[in-house]
């Protein structure tokens, strides 16, 4: 079965995404990395759905895509406002929540 290859690809995508979230300073790139993570999950859902011969996984994946679109909308809105306030979107500058 091809499922293994799909899972490998998904795992690689997920790792790249996690790396991006942890290591990148640019807020937009972090958002993009989050998209990668979500798409890795989508790939898993679709792969398993293919193996089990049901549409449930496809449906879930579609929902995830819709939610991800909304998430990017909100995320980019936040980034834009941050940029307007401080002329920078580097995440290192945003440490007011420091305990």
């Amino acid at each position: 079965m091809l499922v293994n290859q799909f899972l490998f690809l998904a795992a690689i995508l997920f790792c790249i995404g996690v790396y991006g979230v942890v290591a990148r300073k640019n807020a937009v790139l972090v958002l993009m990395s989050i998209e990668l993570i979500l798409n890795a999950v989508n790939l898993n859902l679709v792969a398993f759905s293919l193996r089990n011969g049901s549409v449930d996984g496809h449906t879930f994946a579609l929902y995830v895509i819709a939610v991800a679109a909304a998430e990017v909308g909100v995320g980019l809105g936040l980034v834009l406002l941050v940029y307007r306030n401080r002329r920078s979107i580097s995440l290192d500058d945003l440490s007011e929540m420091k305990g």
Partner: protein, 728 residues
């Protein structure tokens, strides 16, 4: 089975027909290439765009040649089946979604037109946008647009069609807003996008309804899914579907066509879309993209044929919308000063002809009008661009910045005149053969009222084009054309890019003819505006009707039986007389009004109240924009938002207040008796513990998002590990 007869005959095919799917794939791949490497190439990626369009054009030409051979191999009355190839895209739980090509006469004719005009417009843009700051992106978007349109045209199923349709919408948005730094341009782009998107809901609804209702029948009888256009066509003609159901589907699909093809009442986006660069107006918003709606109706004709009972009624939704659009758009063209807006309303009006023709069963003349209209309207827009580029300092205002240009720009003038005569429908220019056929067939099929609408529209077309020609090319040069600083509506790009400094040195100054990269596309298009009508010249008899033979499907299980009006010179001479009357009357009124300043005519609209009301009505575009923006949008924003606020203040807050009052009474008692005495002791101790723990954990709260992310993922990893261990 009824479908068996079609397979009996061996039809000729060939490499180009079998591989026609390459036609959209080449520009799609090139789009990615331009974005990736375009900026590093010597011509900034534009060479890739032009080469890809030439390749597509070559394949489309080869496919057209082989299609013609296929038609002849079928014999006189043989049914020519399309060349279908499909691939499974994805499948799940018994549903298979395919993508594929279905090449028939309609696909071939539109493929050739789109590939040809895309090529010419890209060549024209090499000069027109030279030095633009987003030059590479412009060519990328143009190439992607061509890919989308070509994909829609060869689509075998509704999914590919939808894909191409949406790509075109996106490119239209990107290209109208190409100079988005000016607010009017970005507003126009948004308006176009949202208006068309609103109508696109109809397409989604229509496709879904078709799939749900037709899938079972098509699987059983043809072995294809309910997305297949052939399957849908056969289903619609089979007598199987319920007439209400198919009427609702046809209306839903027609709503999408109204939005995309700028039909009344959603035409308001198209004139505003002229904010884009002129090559974009020429390619997307006159000759190709806006005919997508007409193409949709022509492609799914059996659905509309059955749904609206086209040959059995004297008027239906399509003819009414088309007829209304012809008249109102032509009337608006009279009060525009911007040359591109005149052409935009003219486009809307001509699209109305195509719709009206399709609604009245004149399928072939309408498709032929797509073909001829593309050439002469693209040519007119490119002429307007040529004038703005070389004579009027990027102004499109006919009254302030043009006039007398025929002496300075002979080639532009000649091509403009040929295209204007073609648009007006003068014999023997191409528009005559298509428009007159539409009017004739509409009357022949029993839609008498709409034939009169068509004739009135022909009169108005001739008249407003004569006015525009007079203002642009005759009389005395004014404003920028006379060497003064330009007024009014600017083509935005000369204000803020390198083009300006360079251009003001060598291309501005006195009006002059544009260079070869601009005039060669003009001349090619004008030659076709002059000659393409002869490919389907009804007046010269059956032998000249080549396009009808190649394109029109014979009546079968997949195509309805249609009739052709026999050509008579009496009817044609009436419409020609009307067109000449339009030209002559408009010429004399224009000279009287704009040159001699005849006092009986100048200011007439101010002096006569009835005319003033009409004029203001036209100037304000029937107040449709005001209706959409002030009434509909404000109604949504105003009352609904107020209602939500009222609900929030009175109902939700009321509940909150009463709950809060009750809980305050309870909590007072609890505070005095339990809290103070019993709990405090325990809390003080636990508070101390918590504070110490917090102190210990404080360094973790660094405020750095990436560190939080790392913690989150490591916690998740640990949890996953625990889960794996617990499950084994």
């Amino acid at each position: 089975m009824i479908f068996a007869a079609e397979v009996a005959q061996e039809l000729s095919s060939g490499w180009f027909l079998e591989n026609a799917w390459l036609i959209p794939v080449i520009p799609a791949v090139t789009f990615a290439l331009i974005l990736l490497v375009g900026k590093r190439l010597p011509l900034k990626g534009s060479e890739l765009g032009v080469i890809s369009m030439l390749a597509s054009l070559a394949i489309a030409g080869g496919a057209a040649y082989q299609w013609i051979q296929r038609v002849s191999s079928a014999g006189e009355d043989g049914i020519v089946t399309p060349v279908v190839r499909t691939w499974a895209w994805w499948q799940s739980a018994g549903h298979t979604f395919t993508i594929g090509q279905s090449i028939d006469g309609l696909a071939i004719i539109v493929l050739v037109v789109v590939a040809f005009i895309s090529t010419l417009v890209q060549i024209y843009s090499l000069e027109y946008l030279r030095g633009d700051r987003r030059y590479t992106h412009f060519f990328a978007a143009l190439t992607l647009f061509s890919a989308g349109m070509l994909a829609m045209v060869i689509a075998e199923d509704m999914i590919t069609l939808l894909l191409g349709w949406e790509i075109m919408g996106l490119c239209s948005f990107m290209l109208i807003g190409h100079w988005w730094e000016e607010e009017t341009n970005s507003r126009a782009a948004l308006k176009a996008f949202f208006t068309v998107r609103t109508a696109d809901i109809g397409l989604l609804v229509g496709i879904s309804m078709l799939y749900v209702s037709a899938n079972e029948w098509t699987m059983k009888n043809l072995g294809v899914s309910g997305f297949s256009i052939r399957g849908i066509s056969a289903w619609a003609l089979s007598g199987e579907p319920n007439s209400t159901l198919i009427l609702v589907i046809a209306i839903a699909l027609f709503v999408a066509a109204i939005g995309k093809s700028g039909q009344f009442p959603l035409h308001t986006w198209l004139p505003d879309a002229m904010a884009g660069p002129t090559p974009v107006s020429s390619l997307l918003h006159s000759s190709t993209m806006v005919v997508a709606g007409v193409f949709l109706v022509a492609r799914l004709y059996p659905v509309f044929f059955t749904g609206f009972d086209i040959l059995g009624s004297g008027g239906n939704l399509i003819t009414i919308i088309g007829g209304v659009t012809i008249i109102i758009a032509a009337a608006l063209a009279f009060v525009q000063d911007d040359i591109k807006r005149v052409l935009a309303y003219s486009t809307v009006s001509q699209l109305g002809y195509m719709m009206m023709g399709l609604g009245a069963g004149a399928w072939m003349p309408s498709v032929f009008h797509i073909f001829t209209h593309a050439f002469f309207k693209a040519c007119l827009f490119l002429c307007a661009g040529s004038i703005a580029h070389s004579a009027s300092h990027h102004s499109f205002d006919m009254k302030k910045d043009m006039g007398g240009l025929r002496k300075f720009m002979p080639i532009t003038f000649a091509t403009w005149i040929i295209s204007t005569l073609a648009l007006s429908g003068v014999f023997p220019f191409s528009g005559f053969f298509s428009k007159d056929e539409i009017i004739d067939n509409v009357g022949y099929n029993g839609y008498g009222l709409f034939m009169i609408v068509g004739l009135v529209g022909a009169f108005m077309t001739a008249a407003y084009m004569t006015r525009a020609t007079y203002l642009t090319f005759f009389g005395a040069p004014r404003g920028a054309s006379a060497g003064q600083a330009p007024h009014g509506s600017h083509d935005a790009h000369d204000t803020h890019d390198t083009h300006d400094s360079r251009a003001s040195r060598d291309t501005h100054g006195a009006p002059h003819e544009s260079n070869l990269l601009i005039t060669i596309p003009l001349m090619l298009l004008a030659a076709l505006a002059l000659g393409s009508g002869l490919l389907n010249a009804a007046p010269f008899g059956e032998k000249w009707m080549r396009i009808s033979k190649w394109v029109e499907p014979h009546a079968s299980a997949f195509a309805p039986k249609l009739y052709h009006a026999p050509f008579t010179w009496t009817k044609a001479s009436i419409s020609l007389a009307i067109v000449f009357a339009g030209i002559v009357i408009s010429w004399f009124v224009s000279t009287a009004l704009y040159t001699r300043k005849d006092r009986r005519l100048v200011g007439l609209t101010q002096r006569v109240p009835a005319l003033r009301v009409g004029y203001n009505f036209l100037i304000n575009k029937y107040y449709l924009d005001a209706l959409y923006e002030n009434v509909i949008v404000k109604a949504i924003v105003g009352p609904i938002a107020k209602g939500a606020y009222w609900f929030n203040q009175n109902i939700l807050d009321g509940i909150l207040h009463s709950v809060a009052g009750a809980s305050r009474a309870v909590s007072g008692w609890v505070y005095r008796n339990i809290d103070q005495k019993l709990v405090d002791g325990a809390v003080n101790n636990s508070g101390k513990v918590a504070r110490d723990a917090g102190g210990a954990l404080q360094p973790v709260q660094s405020g750095k998002v990436s560190q939080y992310g790392a913690l989150l993922f490591s916690a998740a990893a640990v949890a996953a590990l625990v889960l794996v261990i617990a499950n084994t």
